[in-house]
């Protein structure tokens, strides 16, 4: 349980948001060219990091907009929030 600073609405309770999982997984540009292994990687394989993770959230009970969050999954502290399409902050690895 934590607060998320929605870039459009400000700080709200996490229960207003829905988690979209790991961010920056690029949708295949040419799906017909993909091997089974590459499909598995895109669809199922996840970093599932204990530590600093880049992820997508949707303010589903608010503005309903998607954005990105940098969060430490070992203590649920949010380190940074940035909009869709923006480059992820470089000071987190």
């Amino acid at each position: 349980m934590f607060l998320i600073n929605c870039p459009f609405c400000g700080e709200r309770d996490q229960s207003e948001f829905s988690s979209g999982g790991e961010a920056h997984i690029v949708r295949p540009k040419q799906p017909t060219e993909l091997s089974d292994d590459e499909w598995a990687e895109y669809l199922f394989m996840r970093k599932n990091i204990k530590g600093i993770q880049f992820e997508r959230w949707n303010h589903v009970h608010g503005c309903r907009k998607w954005f990105n969050v940098v969060r430490d999954t070992s203590n649920d502290k949010i380190l940074s929030v940035y909009k869709m399409g923006e480059k992820p902050p470089v000071n987190y690895k």
Partner: protein
């Protein structure tokens, strides 16, 4: 067994005020090398070591546990055991475990308090009714006991359920597996630890794995907080931390680790003599032998390793509990906790070899691994010893995410995810 527990040993120890009971398992320092190392000293890991020693004649085995044995999800679950899964592969896997449960106390000479009090799954809408009836038929075709109960029969089986048609999610019926039930979760870890230790397995607590040493495509050993340990077979049974260990070997798994919560009430006199689960409103409840109501809540929607979970999840579960059991309205909850569960996209586990020789994974049990403990250990031990899966866990390989041959058990998994 060196020191068999029996009525005789109980009487004998009574004369010395029970102060001279032997240690149930040893506390050794790690050796330089093992034939096989199990990473994770929970129920599944200890069971794996036990069956490796017992059935596959491997004696030089270690179990590494970063905390204390049974301190992770083994000690955090709601102890429900059942095998009423939909697909043939799952039915084989979970019923194999259930059959082992039925004789486990005798097998281990340790009372795991297995109680076949039945598990009832409730239906709250027409689709639930159709799905659960279908599952009942599928179960019976696989030789698993299952019956469909209508609303009156549900009420008769568990009289404290509110079966009024006027509640938000009325009870339209349910399924019952009478062979299902509960067990004492700690005792399972302790019983397997004692049995394994007795056969010479080294159980090494407070020893965290820091890295996996590889020589090209095969494993050579583990870097741990107690130094380097050489081995060419590593079985990882690390539940929520499976991805963390996999990353050490440069592997990615199809898992997401999320907090799953449970809570217990103050102890009261016997009021519910079975286990009732409701997937649709997300509430399940049973009563421990101590008298506490044991209530399972849901998972959080986001990846987290905090072993806490959000308050709103508990709130929703308790709302559902109160509507189904108005009699509990003045119960006080004593404790609440979270465990980190490793969830697979198809809600089925992975008991599998990997493309690294000597590295095996038993993970992805998600929200329902406790019920499978003996079967999971038995089949994982087979997989490690023979470098080939047993026919009961062949379907639960890692490659299914590439081939697309998934075992979709979202309907039978208790916790919606």
């Amino acid at each position: 067994m060196k020191n068999k527990y029996s009525l005789f040993s109980l009487i004998k120890n009574a004369f010395s005020q029970h102060e001279n009971w032997q240690q149930a398992w040893g506390n050794p320092e790690p050796k330089k090398e093992y034939d096989a190392i199990i990473v994770g000293g929970g129920g599944h890991g200890l069971a794996t070591a036990y069956y490796l020693a017992k059935k596959h004649n491997l004696k030089n085995i270690a179990v590494l546990e970063k905390g204390w044995i049974g301190g992770g999800n083994t000690g955090r679950n709601t102890t429900i055991i059942r095998s009423n899964y939909l697909w043939d592969a799952s039915a084989g896997l979970y019923d194999h475990a259930l059959k082992l449960w039925e004789n486990l106390s005798q097998e281990l000479n340790y009372n795991v308090m297995f109680s076949q009090r039945g598990v009832m799954n409730l239906a709250h809408n027409l689709q639930d009714v159709r799905d659960l009836k279908r599952r009942t038929h599928a179960n019976r075709l696989n030789g698993i006991d299952a019956v469909w109960l209508n609303t009156e029969e549900v009420k008769k089986f568990c009289p404290i359920i509110n079966t009024s048609p006027h509640i938000r999610y009325p009870v339209l019926g349910g399924t019952l597996q009478r062979r299902a039930g509960t067990a004492r979760h700690d005792a399972v870890a302790w019983g397997y630890a004692r049995g394994a230790s007795d056969m010479g397995v080294d159980i090494i607590q407070n020893c965290e794995v820091k890295g996996i040493k590889r020589n090209r495509d095969r494993v050579e050993g583990l870097e741990t907080t107690k130094g380097f340990i050489k081995t060419n077979k590593i079985g990882v049974v690390a539940a929520g931390h499976s991805s963390v260990i996999a990353n050490m070997a440069g592997l990615k798994l199809p898992l997401e680790s999320k907090p799953l919560q449970a809570l217990v009430s103050e102890p009261v006199k016997p009021i519910i003599d079975t286990v009732v689960m409701s997937n649709a409103v997300h509430a399940y409840v049973s009563q421990s032998d101590k008298g506490e109501l044991v209530i399972g809540a849901g998972t959080d929607s986001y990846v987290s390793y905090t072993q806490r979970g959000s308050h709103n999840i508990v709130e929703e579960t308790l709302k559902a509990i109160l509507e189904l059991y108005p009699i509990f309205s003045r119960m006080k909850m004593l404790r609440q906790w979270g465990g980190i569960v490793d969830i697979c996209p198809d809600a089925s586990p992975i008991i599998s070899k990997t493309n690294i020789k000597g590295l095996y994974f038993n993970c992805g049990w998600g929200t329902g691994g406790f019920k499978a403990t003996p079967g999971s250990g038995d089949l994982f031990a087979h997989t490690i010893a023979n470098d080939e899966p047993h026919k009961l866990n062949a379907a639960f390989n890692l490659n299914r995410f590439v081939s697309g041959d998934l075992v979709d058990e979202h309907g039978a998994a208790a916790v919606a995810h």
